[in-house]
């Protein structure tokens, strides 16, 4: 069949990214939006857009019935779920199919098989994919979790049976901390996934998180597109990803790729998916989970393998066989993605809100930006703090790191603090540059605190910020320096001057 009109059941950068490829394919795109999102770019970029409810995701982007109804009313023939929200919800895929629409993703059975993380463990072990020691049944209570943890051995990771992407995961190092952690994690899991059941796995110390992109069509062809190194994480949320992994050589790539294809086949997979592995220092890899949707970090694979994964998703959903075989794909160069999040790393990653006062994205050679940010936008507290992705492609890892550094230095965002200063410091860190990272590296790096040191800025004299601020202040208040400083159109500095006066009691105080 030929897909002609697709509802994108998502928001933010991924909704925009999917709409872009749909437009390129000549397929009409249909956006949905909560009342908080009327002005968002994904609404403006789509051919059609329909409201689906209030800001809270549970009232809009997670409303299966309303989204399916919207798709039918709009005359869609398919639905793309993006990532997050309903993307790994088998009931949603089922509802889409029952409405006579194509779900651009795996069959509901594969989502269910992979989405029940515990059953997936069992299935993978059975298929011969190596797994981490841990539960073979769910823990509904702290007591049951304690029993499983005793068997696996501390430290353990508490994981949500219905979870994924690091959400609802807690690491517990000591038996006595388990009950409290279970309660909190289970509550978050219940809120996020509608299922509070947990399972327990041995927590591996110092592993790498490396995942493999797979593609399977409806004709029994399944291939992999190499790996992504995702060890730079904080609280199981990835912040920087690379393709290829500096740890993986051609041989390991072939072995992990083969295991990933095996994993995909084990759950009857179709469409694009990702098999996540934990890799220990010796190079042994263990199945972590399977993500049955497009990943946030898919652009690095696109750059290194020369593909458009969303286009391939649509083509597979249309029933077309993969046009190329495993041997036709090979990596070229090195790509890095960073996730720009509205979080202040200097304040414990506190979520930031506010209005985007000014914005300049990096451009030029080897730079790709996927972001729904726009000047004047109000960053809302209802959704994920990820406000964009900067992706670079270079000849090799050193060039890609230098390019990402350049891109971040070039970027300007006024009005909302982001994690960019931390990432910039990370790119300069010798251990990172040597590729010596594991999933705990970023948290240790943050804790070290050295990243907060003021950088050596182009030989910046220590006095220069003082000089500039004094001139701006004087300019705003007395018009001094007008000969060299053109008038500020905004008058911000007049206001700033007035406030300073008030704050410190004014001239007469």
């Amino acid at each position: 069949m030929q897909i002609r009109k697709v509802l994108i059941a998502n928001r933010g950068e991924i909704a925009l990214r999917v709409a872009r490829t749909l437009r390129e394919m000549g397929i009409r795109s249909v956006a949905v939006f909560s009342t908080a999102d009327r002005d968002e770019l994904h609404v403006r970029a789509a051919d059609e857009a329909y409201p689906i409810g209030p800001p809270a995701p549970s009232e809009s982007y997670l409303k299966i019935d309303r989204i399916v109804e919207t798709a039918k009313k709009a005359g869609c023939d398919a639905v793309h779920p993006g990532y997050g929200f309903l993307s790994e919800n088998a009931a949603f895929a089922q509802a889409v199919e029952e409405a006579g629409l194509v779900f651009i993703g795996p069959p509901p059975s594969a989502i269910a098989a992979a989405g029940d993380k515990l059953n997936a463990r069992v299935a993978m072990a059975r298929a011969g994919v190596p797994v981490i020691p841990g539960s073979d049944k769910p823990a509904a209570t702290a007591k049951e979790a304690e029993a499983a943890a005793a068997k696996a051995g501390f430290p353990v990771a508490l994981k949500a049976v219905g979870g994924g992407g690091g959400k609802g995961i807690r690491v517990v190092r000591k038996r006595e901390d388990l009950a409290a952690a279970f309660a909190r994690a289970s509550a978050e899991a219940a809120a996020a996934f509608g299922n509070g059941a947990m399972y327990v796995e041995r927590f591996l110390e110092g592993p790498r998180h490396i995942e493999v992109q797979v593609l399977a069509d409806a004709h029994g062809n399944a291939i992999h597109l190499g790996e992504r190194e995702c060890s730079i994480q904080r609280r199981h949320q990835k912040l920087l990803e690379e393709c290829p992994s500096p740890f993986v050589d051609k041989d390991l790539r072939a072995r992990m790729g083969a295991a990933a294809v095996l994993a995909a086949r084990a759950v009857g997979y179709r469409n694009a998916g990702t098999v996540e592995f934990l890799v220990d220092r010796g190079g042994s890899f263990h199945f972590l989970e399977m993500n049955t949707r497009i990943q946030v970090e898919h652009p690095i694979t696109e750059l290194v393998y020369g593909v458009d994964l969303v286009r391939l998703q649509v083509e597979i959903a249309e029933g077309r066989p993969l046009a190329l075989a495993q041997g036709d794909f090979f990596p070229r160069g090195h790509a890095i993605e960073i996730r720009l999040t509205a979080e202040d790393p200097a304040a414990g990653f506190l979520p930031q809100t506010g209005r985007v006062q000014a914005l300049r994205f990096p451009q030029g050679p080897g730079v790709r930006v996927d972001s729904h940010l726009y000047p004047g936008q109000e960053i809302s507290l209802f959704y994920d703090p990820m406000i964009g992705k900067i992706v670079v492609h270079g000849r090799d890892r050193a060039d890609a790191i230098a390019r990402m550094r350049r891109a971040l230095v070039e970027m300007r965002l006024v009005g909302v603090k982001t994690c960019a200063p931390l990432l910039l410091a990370l790119l300069d860190d010798a251990r990172f540059r040597n590729g010596e990272v594991d999933t705990g590296f970023l948290e240790r790096f943050v804790a070290e605190g050295t990243w907060q040191r003021l950088p050596e800025l182009n030989g910046l004299p220590a006095e220069l910020p003082a000089v500039i601020a004094a001139v701006l202040y004087a300019h705003g208040r007395q018009g001094a320096g007008r000969a060299v400083v053109p008038p500020a159109s905004s008058g911000d500095w007049v206001a700033a001057g007035r406030r300073e006066q008030m704050k410190w009691g004014g001239p007469g105080a």
């Binding site: 996020a192 509205a342 506190l350 979520p351 930031q352 809100t353 006062q357 000014a358 300049r360 507290l381 994920d384 703090p385 971040l408 230095v409 070039e410 300007r412 006024v414 009005g415 200063p421 950088p455 800025l457 182009n458 030989g459 004299p461 220590a462 006095e463 220069l464 910020p465 003082a466 000089v467 500039i468 601020a469 004094a470 001139v471 701006l472 202040y473 004087a474 208040r477 007395q478 001094a480 320096g481 000969a483 060299v484 400083v485 053109p486 008038p487 159109s489 905004s490 911000d492 206001a495 700033a496 406030r499 300073e500 006066q501 704050k503 410190w504 009691g505 004014g506 001239p507 105080a509």
Partner: protein
């Protein structure tokens, strides 16, 4: 004109001198010739200083300017000489300590209120659970004390800086 600028805790006395269309700033004996240009609609300033080029964005905060220049962010507060002198005389009177208001450091939704007026709290004890962007954050007591008032209830949406709890 004399100004005092505090950059990340360190104070600099800056003397501005304009002549012949150029601006000089003398800071602690060093003279800087500054070519400073405002780029409209972008909160951006371009600085040429002895040939070196810097581009800063400026974001106003309540008590400081945030100057962001590519790889670095600086927080600077400025006052003129007169204000500086006046403040120096009154600073001794500012140390007094009364009841402490615990405020929201971010906007969010109140998921749990864990204390009530009259409760005694330990340092580090959770007071309120705030949720924003899908993450739950515990607001904890910075000092031991007794809850004097609670300003929010479960499910309230609060702005950054909103009063949550008063401890005495």
């Amino acid at each position: 004109m004399r100004y005092f600028a505090k950059v990340e805790g360190k104070e600099y006395e800056c003397v501005l001198e304009g002549s012949n269309g150029t601006l000089s700033v003398v800071v602690e004996g060093k003279r800087f010739s500054v070519d400073l240009r405002h780029i409209p609609r972008s909160h951006t300033w371009s600085v040429l200083l002895d040939g070196r080029s810097y581009e800063f964005t400026v974001h106003e905060h309540e008590d400081a300017l945030e100057l962001a220049g590519g790889a670095g962010v600086f927080h600077v507060s400025v006052e003129d000489a007169r204000t500086h002198a006046a403040r120096a005389q009154t600073v001794g009177a500012r140390g007094a300590q009364g009841p402490r208001i615990v405020k929201a450091v971010m906007p969010g939704i109140v998921r749990e209120v864990l204390v009530a007026p009259g409760h005694a709290v330990e340092k580090g004890q959770p007071l309120v659970i705030l949720e924003a962007m899908k993450m739950q954050n515990e607001v904890r007591a910075a000092e031991p004390g007794k809850i004097r008032a609670v300003f929010v209830a479960k499910s309230d949406t609060v702005e950054k800086g909103a009063r949550l709890v008063e401890i005495e």
